[in-house]
Amino acid sequence: MIRYENVTIAYDAAQPPVVSDVSLEAVRGSVTAIVGPNGSGKSTLVRALLGRVPLVNGRILIDGTDATTIPRRELARRCAVVTQREDTTFSRGVAEYIALGRFPQQGSWGAPASGDVEAVNIAARRAGVEALLGRVTDELSGGEWQRVRVARALAQGGEALVLDEPTSFLDVGHEMQVFQLASALAESGAAVLIVSHQLNLVARFATSMVMLHRGAVIAKGTPDTVMRGELLERVYDWPLVVTRDPAVNAPMLVPLRRTT
């Protein structure tokens, strides 16, 4: 569904690339996670999909078609992205905010398309934010806001969903809600690509993982393949052990105290 082929990205031709020769794939029916330390190029890959950073080399394919050749609105209809940050300068109603996700479906005059209201209601139900539809965005908690953003992405109606660090600043309950939602969407046939620092949640919910380090893929495969102690210690430059999650037996990272 979403395929990065040998993607290299540089903001400045005179500087070393921030992402080098990255290949990965997010397929329908699965949760694919991109993980790695701060500055490893995870969000840059998402911005490249949005056409916000230039590719020096390689290409990004959506269902086998080069994303740069797909008209912007068509791309938005196929693939929804929840970006890492989004500031609400001006408050608006939650239902109205989610309805902005229908923009790619609307005509040039911006008149609501048939089925917009139903699409918003379905998206709100899937994201578990139906009860928030009567509220306004600046009254929402961090967790509510993230789920409302996911609902807006679902309203776009595509079969691929990209979530860039969707659980930043969320407590454990809200983190679980977001990951369970991502997992449920994949089970319903969507291709879910998630960028996250929450290695333990990723290991629990993702079908496959891609570990980035200094802009390059250092490991990829199932969580068991990627969540290896010596690899993670090297990448994060911190002593740790990888054990098993007692609840679901997924690999689980436990950071240790560093002894000087």
């Binding site: 903001y11 949005l50 916000r52």
Partner: protein, 328 residues
């Protein structure tokens, strides 16, 4: 948050109609509402007809057009730049226009050409700001933060140029330039009303067409790109259209500050949040504010007039301060 109701629209239109009728009726020569209405519908005394049709009516219509243009321009800029303090005059439009007008006065050009040169100055300032923002943005993207700063810097440069230009000119030229910079619709003619009317109609229609795109831009550049918007092009388009609308008002009536800043906040205070509705609300509220300000400007100390730009600020500042206190 106030939920906007259908009657708000009717209330706004009625308030605009009322303030326009008062604007035509009141002044150095006071007319009754009946006289105003009769002059519009039937034969009135020639003197009354002359006051209404030649002097007051074009003045009121010009004030309304200026309010519509500045209100919609401010609403577009605030949404596009995601900055509640953005307004047309902050972005070099006023400075560029003032340089053009002062240069025209110094060159001894006929006052007929002042608007043309003011408009040219504003256009140069806007294109310069967009050029700087586009050059500074990564990979050709227009960076809205740079755009905002470039506008401010271009405006500051223009102000410096004005001071240099006015440093060694006769006192009469300085007074004329200052009066123009304080804004006025006193010299309104049907000719000015006609060209500004066409300009405002086209500009507002353009902003209305692209309003849904601007709604999406308020989410931020990456989110807007994810919804299928060409962010750089949309930003430039909105910026250029709103800046040119403001420039046209400057050319027609000089500098009338604060309208572009405060009117969008007034519209949002009525619970409007969709850009198309905000534009419609700003058109009504902007027109009311400028027509009412012009009315006050000429009835407070007749037969003298207060500068229109100062009156709009005096009326707008208290509202803005109340809004600031309500902000959390």
């Amino acid at each position: 948050m106030i939920v906007h109701r259908a009657w708000h629209w009717w209330g706004g239109v009625l308030a605009l109609a009322a303030v326009c009728v008062l604007g035509v009726a009141l002044g150095t020569v006071r007319l009754s509402i009946a006289q105003v209405l009769s002059a519009l519908t039937t034969d009135a005394a020639p003197s009354v007809h002359s006051i209404i049709v030649t002097l007051r009516l074009p003045r009121v219509v010009l004030a309304a057009l200026v309010g519509i243009a500045l209100g919609t321009s401010g609403a577009t800029l605030q949404a596009t730049l995601r900055n509640p303090l953005a307004e047309p005059y902050l972005l070099g439009v006023s400075g560029g226009a003032a340089v053009g007008a002062v240069a025209a006065m110094m060159l001894g050009a006929s006052s007929v050409f002042w608007p043309l040169l003011a408009f040219t100055g504003a256009a140069v300032a806007v294109v310069l700001a967009i050029g700087v923002a586009r050059g500074a943005g990564k990979s050709g993207h227009t960076d809205v933060r740079v755009l905002l700063m470039a506008g401010v810097v271009v405006g500051a440069f223009a102000n410096a140029l004005i001071m240099i230009l006015l440093a060694n000119v006769p006192a009469n030229t300085v007074r004329g330039a200052l009066w123009w910079m304080m804004g006025s619709v006193a010299d309104a003619t049907w000719y000015t009303v006609a060209w500004l009317g066409v300009y405002v109609a086209l500009g507002v229609a353009y902003l209305m067409i692209y309003a849904p795109e601007i709604d999406v831009l308020t989410l931020g550049e990456d989110s807007a790109a994810g919804l299928g918007v060409d962010v750089s092009r949309a930003t430039r388009r909105a910026f250029l259209a709103s800046a040119m609308l403001a420039a046209a008002t400057v050319a027609a009536a000089g500098l009338i500050g604060f309208v572009g800043l405060v009117v969008p906040h007034m519209a949002r205070a009525f619970g409007l949040s969709r850009q198309r509705a905000i534009l419609a609300g700003c058109a009504i509220i902007g027109a009311i504010l400028v027509v009412a300000s012009d009315l006050l400007a000429r009835v407070v100390i007749p037969p003298s007039e207060l500068p229109l730009g100062a009156v709009t600020a005096v009326l707008g500042v208290p509202f803005f301060l109340i809004q600031l206190r309500r902000m959390r």
